[in-house]
Symmetry: C2
Subunit: 421 residues, 2 copies
């Protein structure tokens, strides 16, 4: 089995200022390709540390992937160290990356300074994968059999640039290493906790054939991805066997399965609305813009998403959304009645077919009537208005994410009922 090591470089990680998320994205991609990650390392911006650690990782692995330390400033020394490690005596200007650098800076109305041009300089003994999302290219060092017999990929550290480079890196790995076929098949599940899901599907999971492996990949915003894999052999031949198991699993889970592929709730809802020619809007209190943010993160969402009102202050609930002052007074801000009035209000003012609303307490504190973590969700549509209450026990940030995901799931279930019946 091909072995890989992931190495993040930067003092900011070692002092805890930044949480390394690049490694886990890389690990997912490597694992899906059937490559074993032997370890992950984080080291500082220090010449000797980088040299010693990379030498060691190159001895022990087929593939070493680094992220970070490629910025234009003085503390970023990874490129110089890689020049030394690879025995490169000169830097060469990569024309393709230079064009991208110039494009990025001119697009921002900035001059191309020498420090920017230097971003396109790479050690002579590397190949370049251009980075279209930033100024530092991906550098590929192929060490010959008589030295390390390994490949080193140096990626930028900025997370969206590092993640953006993963497909190109994986393509390069596939072109140079003999990888087994691996068959992965995912479905997306929402509206159920991991432990409850695990109990519910235990009989099915226990009866899985020995060569099939199930993984739970939970995320606060997308629910749980269930991934069924066959790691060895000619996976193509096994497709029918996997599909048979997936069909059984979907029968057990019913409408908790929201998509048959790697997907998000907001993209799923978008497809449903688009297909039906319907529109949606949102009224947010405790989620404070998160639902709107999720809707608009889908390219093309302007076809069905009209807009939202974030009514953080009660006055905005009353004056913009038309929630009656008596309703707030009688039932409290965090109530079924206010959630319903908010959804109906934003549906009216935006003229959308559907509307979803949230009112709750993300934290740090609850109020005199409700514990922290309580949310009321409303969905208004042509067939009327429904509400539901949920309670989560996380911190503020995580509660906001769970509130938003629950609201989207409640909307999805309503659309499922309305649009397919």
């Amino acid at each position: 089995m091909i072995q890989a090591s992931i190495c993040t470089i930067g003092d900011e990680i070692l002092i805890g200022q930044v949480v390394d998320t690049n490694s886990s994205h890389l690990a997912v991609a490597l694992e899906e390709a059937g490559i074993r990650v032997t370890r992950m390392l984080s080291i500082g911006d220090d010449r000797e540390e980088i040299l010693n650690n990379l030498r060691n990782e190159l001895e022990l692995n087929d593939i070493v992937i680094t992220t970070g330390g490629l910025g234009p400033t003085k503390d970023d020394i990874t490129k110089d160290v890689l020049a030394e490690l690879s025995g490169s005596f000169e830097y060469v200007e990569n024309q393709e990356q230079l064009a991208i650098v110039e494009d990025i800076l001119r697009g921002r109305g900035l001059d191309v300074l020498p420090i920017n041009r230097a971003q396109a300089l790479v050690p002579e003994k590397c190949e370049v994968i251009p980075n279209r999302k930033g100024t530092a290219p991906v550098m590929v060092f192929r060490f010959p059999e008589d030295s390390y017999n390994a490949t080193l990929f140096a990626l930028p550290g900025v997370p969206f640039e590092a993640v953006g480079a993963i497909p190109d890196v994986m393509e390069d790995i596939r072109a140079h290493y003999p990888l087994n076929d691996i068959l992965h098949r995912s479905i997306m599940v929402s509206g159920i906790a991991e432990s409850a899901l695990s109990e519910l599907i235990a009989p099915w999971e226990d009866a899985l054939p020995e060569d099939m492996h199930l993984a739970y990949l939970p995320s606060p915003l997308t629910g749980i991805r269930l991934r069924l894999s066959i790691y060895s052999g000619k996976a193509e031949d096994e497709k029918a066997r996997v599909e048979e198991q997936i069909a059984r699993l979907k029968e057990i889970l019913g409408d908790k399965v929201y998509s048959d592929q790697d997907d998000t709730l907001e993209a799923t809802i978008g497809r449903m609305l688009k297909a039906a020619g319907k529109t949606v809007s949102a009224a947010e209190s405790c989620t404070g813009g998160e639902i709107s943010h999720l809707f608009t993160s889908v390219p093309g969402s302007s076809a069905y998403y009209l807009g939202s009102v974030t009514s953080y202050a009660v006055s905005v609930k009353e004056h913009v959304l038309g929630v009656p002052a008596e309703t707030v007074e009688k039932y409290g801000v965090v109530s079924s009645e206010v959630a319903a009035a908010m959804a109906e209000g934003v549906r009216r003012v935006t003229g959308s077919d559907y509307a979803v609303s949230t009112t709750g307490l993300a934290g740090p504190d609850g109020d005199e009537f409700n514990p922290v973590g309580t949310v009321w969700i409303g969905v208004a549509g042509p067939r009327g208005t429904k509400t539901v209450k949920k309670i989560f026990k996380h911190d503020r940030k995580r509660n906001i994410e769970r509130f938003a995901a629950s609201a989207l799931d409640f909307l999805r279930l309503t659309l499922l009922e309305d649009l397919t019946n």
Copy 2:
């Protein structure tokens, strides 16, 4: 300087199922105590991997902290490996931890099974720091001078248990190691690209004393954190020297410095508004809720943030915000005039003192008048309305973040002018 290594143990990290956040919490605590973290490692649940890596880390460091692999199930083997590593031939039952285990399980209405009792068993050659948040205790192995001359702390992997154990671990370290002071001083900068910033402060940076180290820590939402550090000696004595350098730096950067501490734009704006007793609202088009999301991510933001309207559809711009149809028709949706009318509209309907707006093209496509990445930002306040145009060249997600950060910065500069003059 005392050196430490952090080692997280668990297959789930190496396949990317879980992002390791324990290491960064530990790193913050160690760094604050003046301990240098030399590296972080993540390794799998494998006897030989754990042994080899820990032996190596114990050779190179004064302190090694592990998290994970202490659960009651078969795949958690860290405790057995630590028994081997420490030359412990027997396990002893720790009565204090056993009482906690019994307490936790009874609290959940569960019986205490042998598998649970075993959680309180520890290798004979360790000291125990009881874990009140979970069943696995913290184990402290003090290796004598003639072996590794280092201390190993084994913490549970569950994040809230690991983080909960940090104060006790730090107290133990302080009791056993002579610690130096370490001095960090950060300022937050916005409205300037990293490369331009680097050029601007190059003369200052080049003239820094040798014992001071500058780091650039950029983030799309918070701008750039500039951190000046002195790692050695009696840091308290050096404070004045660092402050002198920071004062010079602030003079060079002027109003590009938005905070004198580790901070965000939205928290800074919150403090400015709170101090002045003013309120704010937002009208978002292309940022789709991101600005509102940022405002509400600050605990206590309801004191000054009233709410927002996300007017994704033109109809919502017209009907909810009162942007005149003629303005849209004459100047186009992405225009200074529409940005101004949106800000004025949301200020009017929410009754806020200030309002900020965005209208632009986050991507993937531009329109016939503007390239993708264009945003018009508006700020309306008691002294009138201002607009500014910015162009970014990122992908959709990153453009939305940069649009939102730019809007917040434009609002901040307006507040700075209004509230301090």
